[in-house]
Symmetry: D2
């Protein structure tokens, strides 16, 4: 109830603070019989982990996952999958300066107000370190949904933007550059820009686009649990996200219906895909695509005026180890959340009808 | 589970097809002791109902709500509030032409695939007529959250856009024009544009902005149930919505952290509000504001090529009574969903702490 | 959240007070494609309704159900099934004497304390009249689980008890006597006893036994949602229930393991069935059987000392129209709750495994 | 969804098999500000752990809990409490004989049918070892509900039964004997009986009674989530439980209303308490009491006929380390589940009314 559980049938509950002994999670509702590749999970974690390249935070965390239950002889048993990632590089002293002070545009102030006090070390529960648990679960969800391809990538850093990112079909270069942009030339520009931002002691926002291919028809529930509504919630729950759009998105709001409607081919596919693979909240088998907007990280390497607990004005020095731009590391998190949604809705779809087209789902 | 329930503690479950005998809902978890103004509920319904002006659909539905339970002697009792709106103007025969055909960019095709068959009359469950139930529940939520002000309005129709709509402070003109735009001059332009669109037998999309004032501090749950994630899901669950952004939104993705951070005043308020009233997923007491993107309505008054159930190409004639632009009628729906989220999170916040600042919540 | 919803996937949310305009409910998650027999629903309602025989309350309520949604051309569509039963025989004035007084062993006192006030007419939400909505939903669940047989019957009234009721195999006489006891001789004794109780202005408790035949193997979730735990909650949620036992039940607590273990036949069935068809919380295909204990109805036709709202002692006269013994009318309610649990767990079971024996479920 | 989560607001999700690396859980929704006594948690675990006395299994497991999150400087932070108990004494080879065989009255057969295969070591997820996680969470719930006293004890072993156990007021001897029976003389008899049972290579069932004192008025939700319905589900979810009754229970089913009604004192308390502290599903401030029936453990030290996976008849030897009677170790589990229910319903009650008597809750 208190917001640390995601999903309806295929569910993930996470726990852990950035500077406690460990973080982790429990996946409940994962079906029995899925062969688990632990190396693939670790590979996804490595895409998220700090210190992976020169344009991300230089903190070092091995982020090694231990699975405690729910997998037996390499296969899921249908019982809950409990897993833990031990924290190894906590420098809690780094955070003494924020013990009694509120960092601008962080959660410090609201946590103190809401809970009466807070674990101030590294942001505690509000740290994006929590997303490591999502990546573990998302990787398992991807192994369950093995017929579906999830392609997330960076489509903008600051003002550097790819045109029509949802039309990209060649995803082969994404992992070959530290920005995770599928266009090598743009990737290089973005990388240089992020380096400059870092030199300035500043941070910058960006966009992640996700294209999901080979989606079964029929995923999505009517009314409140539309597929895109849950995808939107999933993305908006990632730290630093400010916006979500799918299909034609915000641009589509200025179009005419006669331009926007996706006409059918005789096989039920559509000639265009402004719907973004979802109609009436239910997948139609076309590619699902969406954009996720990330604000610039709030922790900057510059002095800022702020207040302490007593309301006194103070100057806060910029220090610590932080990302100048969060989107390269956000890519596997976006994929993880997307795969969790699809796995969950796939299982729900199995309960929807006794006459529907189950070959499709 | 099948997606017709919204909320965690203050919950709404809706039912009803556009051409069945009635639609309605059940609110469970509404606290006892709230004085209910039934006229205010009806007034909100009237803002949503068809036929209210020349720029919306000319269908006539009185949309009269009957409350069957949970209110006694004018006050909520704490037991579920069941309510019904009888349908009175169903012209099911109008829909015989879509019985075996799939309207482009509608839910017809996916409903048939998912469920094996569908109630084709007026879109059945996928009709936006369902949102009448949301408006009833949202109106009750607003009466519960009476200290909070919800101001939704139209900020764009096609390419006609208000600048910085979240900075608008004068909401007095919203209800005095059929578009529900707070700027009378822009409202007039939008109205003319919608009339032109209708003459063309076409439709157009738009934006609704919502500004929420006097929000208690501390609403929002960590990690998956962040306040803006739930607001996003709420908005994306409204028919025709393609995008959601709050605070700096998509624009903020190109900013630098040094521009974007909201510095504190000594009373805990912030000098700017790019955070949109929410930090770390929790309300900080500043105005919450967000934009919702609506695509153009798929039903147009033009011939379109499409397919029937057997996959045969057919031509579908444009007919029926539909909205050329959905945003004027969407305004009360956006408010309703926002108030449902806030009422729900307000109740959750009462369970979060035994030492937190409960005066604030 | 506030407790008016039952189930996980196949869910029922109910609303309504005994003396409001109507009661009803919403079934969400019912699969598409089930042919609905409305006469069968009404027949189940008639088994629960007041005034059906001389040994139940003489109130007259037709209890006619109206289905508002979710069924189209006689078949479920997969969308929520909203239904309403209008109240027609409310004599609210009958309850003026309890407006400010607390009936002993009723919910009056705790409702006032919990909610601050209450709808006192006929018990309001705490009235067993609410169970009419459960019978509607349960009847639909039975139509979905059409291969499974639910046989509930009265096995005790006061000290008149059937021996080994779970071994009964002939259910043909249950509906041919007003007590709903499968043994005609015992039924006659019980009937006479209830008549005597009524003459005494008193009430008496009893037991309902339920035997479920032809249950699929594999229903039930590990740990907290064991099948019998949910059946227990379902039964304990019925008004006046004080106890639940399944299989060997309380008697089994004094046995030895060597007596209690159910040895296997080679086909996986067991030679005995002290397990009551459930092992480790999961159905094993044998008959499920359980007993439900109902206390005597608290409303008696005798003067009782009690207190009013101010804590003053008063004498309350016994009046109104009430059941001398609740179990005959409880039989369809027990069946309804059992069928709701099985329908829900059947759908859950479809999501548990990609390698399990789906032919069985 | 798959049944490993308990509670609505104060929730526990558990994971872990008896022979995996670790078991544990996540508590979500625990309010901030509760001072945590880790020694008290360990003390409760020690009451459940194997090897604690001569009448329980002689397996040795230290059952040492590690809290990974949610507690900072000795106080709950309002974020999820993740905890782990490492398994240390797994002798998986002990279970090779059940790899392909089904133990009578165990979950082996149904797990194989439901999931397609199973982790057969020590029962895997169906082992009562899982309840260690419940004891951890229950101990934290008790610390939150520190004003309430939970007294569970053994009231029967086989045919040795305490009379009117719910009237016991002296709980001082419970922990001073290995049976956990409050009557020292009966405790001695029970102990001797269990020793005899063990010598016979057999097992025996028993009853646990729980008396809860100082319960706030107003806990419990209408209709489906009645307080006793949730307590019943909680108890029935414990391994080996076959029945639950509260207040007058099964005995009350043979009483008359004129005997059974609890008349009021002028302060709102009642002269008798056949209601068991709950009326209409809501606590009335009187003692809550209930009985829980445990069957004899299925694993006996005798040869039994059974079948293997292929359906072939085999003889299974009785071996391993098991409890001759489970109730002494079940006492802290019953308390744990009761405290989880009350903590959860206490938080729910804070959301029920804006005019109710909050001093009471």
């Amino acid at each position: 109830m208190a917001g640390n559980k995601f999903g309806h049938i295929f569910t993930l509950t996470t726990f852990g603070e950035s500077h406690g002994p460990a973080l982790g999670g429990v996946i409940d509702g994962c079906p029995a019989g899925i062969t688990i590749d632990e190396d693939a999970i670790q590979a996804d974690l490595d895409r998220r982990k700090p210190g992976q390249s020169k344009i991300v935070t230089q903190r070092k965390e091995p982020d090694q996952v231990e699975i405690y239950s729910g997998v037996f002889e390499g296969m899921t048993t249908g019982t809950p999958i409990g897993f833990v990632i031990h924290n190894s590089n906590q420098k809690s002293k780094d955070y003494d300066h924020i013990k009694n002070a509120y960092r601008p545009s962080h959660a410090d102030y609201v946590y103190d107000k809401k809970y009466g006090f807070r674990d101030y070390r590294g942001g505690g529960r509000s740290s994006a370190r929590e997303t490591a648990a999502r990546v573990v679960a998302g990787s398992i969800a991807k192994q369950f949904m093995s017929g579906v391809q999830f392609h997330a990538f960076v489509s903008a850093v600051g003002d550097l933007k790819l045109e029509n990112p949802h039309l990209i079909n060649d995803f082969s270069s994404i992992e070959s550059n530290p920005v995770r942009c599928p266009d090598p030339k743009m990737a290089k520009e973005m990388e240089e820009y992020i380096k400059q931002i870092r030199k300035d002691g500043d941070t910058v926002g960006g966009l992640v686009t996700c294209v999901i291919k080979n989606v079964p028809i029929g995923l999505g529930e009517p009314v409140f649990d539309k597929l895109h509504a849950e995808l939107g919630k999933a993305m908006l729950s990632i730290n630093a996200v400010k916006g979500f759009e799918y299909g034609s998105g915000f641009a589509g709001a200025s179009w005419r219906g006669s331009q926007h409607n996706d006409l059918f081919n005789t096989d039920g596919t559509t000639k265009t895909n402004y719907s973004g693979g979802i109609q009436g909240g239910i997948s139609n088998g076309m590619d699902i695509y969406f954009n996720v907007a990330f604000k610039p990280v709030a922790t900057i390497m510059q002095d800022q005026n702020t207040i302490d607990k007593s309301g006194k004005e103070i100057t806060m020095e910029g220090k610590g180890r932080h990302d100048p731009c969060v989107v390269p590391r956000a890519v596997p998190i976006v994929e993880a959340m997307a795969s969790l949604v699809l796995a969950d809705y796939f299982l729900m779809a199995r309960t929807n009808s006794i006459i529907g087209d189950h070959n499709d789902i």
